[in-house]
Amino acid sequence: MTTTTTTTTTTTATSSAATTALNTTTGATTGATTGNAAHNATAGTAGTTGARGAGDVLILGNGPDAVRLTRALHRLGHPGPVRMLPEPVVTAIDRRRRRVRTADGGEHPYGTLALALGARPHIPDVPGLRCPEGQLRGGVRVGTPLAGPAAGRRATTTPGPVVVLGAGPDGTDAALALRRAGRQVTVVHPGAHPMSRRLDRTAGELLAGALAERGIRVHAGATAVEFTPGKLTLDDGRILEAATLLLCTGTVPHTRLAAEAGLPVGHGVLVDSRLRTADPHISALGSCAELTTTADGPAAPPAWDQAEALAARLTGADRTAPPPVVRLRDPALHLAVMGSRQALEEAPDQITLHDPARGRYARLALRRDRVAAAVVLGLPRAAAAVTQLYREARPVPAARLALLLGTPPLRPGAPDSPATVVCRCNHVTLGELREAWDRGARDVAALAEATRATTGCGSCTDEVARLCSARTAPSGGPGGARSAGRGAREGRAR
């Protein structure tokens, strides 16, 4: 038997050391779970041989993506064993024999292999970033996705100006968070404007403007050539003060094992929308995977969705993971980007709304009534609505301006028809109220007595009062509005 640290769990076990440490909780609420069917399939153990059914899932990696997948499988009652193997101990994937080999000579057979290997930050080749020993020099930090006012404070505690290298979605978010925390921030970005791989020019310029408005300096079209403590030199010769240099220069998916096993690899391990690699027994998810369906490189991986979708597929459902959406996390700058630049340019049906004065921009590229790609900026509701349509591939509603600008609240303002229901709680129509008036009910209380209008939730009281004043001579105002209901017509058996 080997000493490999395989984590074996079954569908009901939730407390193996590794999963506990990573806060896996199935049946997360307190209190006893009543009558959950106990599957308790016998777990496969390391080193055993023999062919495995597809239900026998081995997950490579033990980061958040792996934990999410494990949890989702448990929850969906996955009938077979689910094992997690941390990436560093794995030496090779033997696809032919469906086994994973570990450094200690162990062999781990699988039915289905899920690659959740994660990614590491990409450190650009700029002189001065590293110490001679190889680790990052003081003042150089790696950016992680950030949100909230506290995020900027968490990003760096070193006082002084910050330079953010790279204005992709993560760099832009980090710059905004730091600025919200009151820091002096400069962004250096090689493209023509921030998020240049994702945004068309109009949107990019609006975004640059929005950053500038918040006091963030943006150096577009520039690259860093050297870092010395406190200073960053750019290719155009400018020198920026940088007490902190925050690297937001992308990630490098861990693809080595996949590549060596002969799986197609691009930036990440290539998968289709069902998260399948070229090998039917191997899937990949999270930040090590690259969807072949989005032509423009990895977007912030929708890890929740991918774990849920893969777990659903492995437990028998036919599920695709929704396509990723880039969404900035600044609370006041609402930017959502869907689909590739190419799709944005090429889709046949284009809708554009451009309101530069108010920093609002929306561009929807539609194909067969579905959103193929979109950029939505400064329109928080539209960002949400278009994201839903895109992720679910649902047809865009006919009222397209309403989709972008919102539907006005539906208050039809009581059309003057006798059939209009004035009191919804008691289903009293305008006609019935007029009739009651004609029979002598001349104030709200009397109308309530006669018709029961106003006696439910009471919200039509004003309207009934208005009806009174409209019918009375100018002197007769509404009156007694709130006392309504006390003397309503009696409900009678028959």
């Binding site: 806060n23 009558g35 006012p149 289903h427 209901g485 009696e490």
Partner: protein, 731 residues
Amino acid sequence: MSDRAPAPAGPRAGAAPAAARAGTPGDIPAGIPADTPADTHCPYCALQCGTRLSRAADGAVTVRPTPGFPVNQGGLCQKGWTAPALLDTPDRLRTPLLRDAGGTLAPAGWDTALDTIAGRLRELRARYGPDAVAVLGGGGLTNEKAYLLGKFARLALGTSQIDYNGRFCMSSAAAAGNAAFGIDRGLPFPVTDLAGAEVVLLAGANPAETMPPLMRHLDGPELIVIDPRRTPTAERAALHLQPRPGTDLALALGLLHAAVAEELLDHDYIETRTTGFDACWRQAREAWPERVEAITGVPAADQRAAVRMLAAAGRRYLLTGRGSEQHSTGVDTVAAYINLALALGMPGRPGSGYGCLTGQGNGQGGREHGQKADQLPGYRMITDPAARGHVARVWGVAPEDLPGAGRSAWELLDSLATPGGPRALLVFGTNPVVSAPHAARVARKLAALDLLVVADFVPSETARLAHAVLPVTQWAEEDGTMTSLEGRVLRRRAVRTPPPGVRGDLDVLHGLAVRLGEPAARYPTSPRAVFDELRRASAGGRADYSGISYERLDSGEALYWPCPAAPGPGGARAAPHPGTPRLFLDGFAHPDGRARFAPVGHREAAERTGPGFPLHATTGRLLAHYQSGAQTRRIAELTAAAPEPEVEIHPDTAARLGVGDGQRVRVSSARGSTVARARLVATLRTDTVFLPFHFPGAGRANLLTGTALDPVSRMPEFKVSAVCVEPEPAP
């Protein structure tokens, strides 16, 4: 099948000879003098609006709102106003019915009916054991009936197989509330407190339609409404969040995330009054509002705005309804909302709090006194040896004689007539053929039983399938108590003698128990006697009623449980315990006095839309009807307001399907299909349709709903199914 109630044109019930029942033992009041108004409560929902009933000499009953009753403040909804018509419904059951050899339900005398039923029950029990007989109760039964039904099941039948329809109603909120606070009382404060709030967040509740007079207390506060539909309640809101059905849990997590990220937490409160925040936050930290936006469709900006509104208000409440609770993630969803309320320091503070809007008339009391599979009276757990000991003592049996925990409502229904499952079912106060999920399967299971007994006052859809039907009293013909959504115990009072041939449920249980060999004294037939026993059985439990008496209630005291018999400070001569209008002000009901955050993470609904079933269907209630409609569909005025099932659908979606307003459509899910008229609603999400669940036959919304259950509460997923819609040719 046509089930439309004809206009009530039958003979006046009041014409029944008033003295006919004189001398009958039991809970049936003998002749009540005419013109003595009685203060009682509406027969329907958990608001339990106060109603004053008067009876004219000819027997006709009239209703008015009870002056001064604070909950409805002089208001009633259309259901309350028209309730007296139910007393005279022409197809009222007036005699027991037994299915004859030819398969038709034929009138029978009470003795014959009870002898026959008891005989069959004895046979089945002898052959298959006590769990071969099951009981399904309801949240509309009085406390007395619910209590005696639980006792009857455990002692006379010796079965563990008893549960009630409240599983379909508030079980998720109950489980989450118990876990967080140590006690589950719908509103742990009087309804009237709401009026003093600055902000109220309603998650999945539509009181403007389902409990209109409640809105009188929500006039002042700004409302935040979370509902996939733009309901009349949502129309009144300052902020309406419209999530995709089935994503409520993600939304609740997103709101907590926003509260943390915006630094709106009440750290002192978290520190001194709660435990478990860190574990809860570890689960929620991934739910940043933009991610939640992608899943729910609720703009991140609106999530933040909602949390800011709540945090900025001094007095604020967070209330959940079925929209949050009727999911396979229901307990976690409510727990996530409670986490938010705790993080902002709301529960257990004067003028603020968390509550659940109970649905059924006695949904609260009905779940406290022993008709739930795992509970004994006083909200005691049946698995707790001390609880068993106490209740066994009150009942005069040995603790070992009490069965253990049984199956939850859906699991119970699904196990009927399966090997090892019950072969007989006694139904009191519920209509599962219409209201249970996957209703067609339930109907098949019921049809396969050896014995189905239904006690009801109208021939409900379930009664029509029964082997034996027992006609029982209705609201204005009986005495008892109900516990409303605010935990206040209310008196239900009789104003009219029931028609001859009708008996009270307590009487029925007594008659059956005696025939099953039980001592007669163990099953009192007077509600007061049952209540006095219930007080003893509940003493010392979470829901302690021992200090509440008919005398105190009749003298006008407003008593909220817990209300122990033990006098307050000052010893035996002190005033009786005043009850507890507001819980948690001094601490929560856990041993350490602290509330518990629950570590809940994101989970999806059990069913997703896909190519075959591209739309979400969600179900709910209409203003004009109540629950399965067995009562309200018999009232002409209500049937006129909502005569038949309509499915709400967005005009765009309808246009794509070639469906026009008012056209008949077939809505189908993986379980079955239902037929309704399309009603185009432009404020609906284009991916969602809505169906009311009040209608019978082919119009049952529950033909669509699925059987995924919450792992803790066993609540079915009523609020989201994947469906498709197509035009349906005229019949």
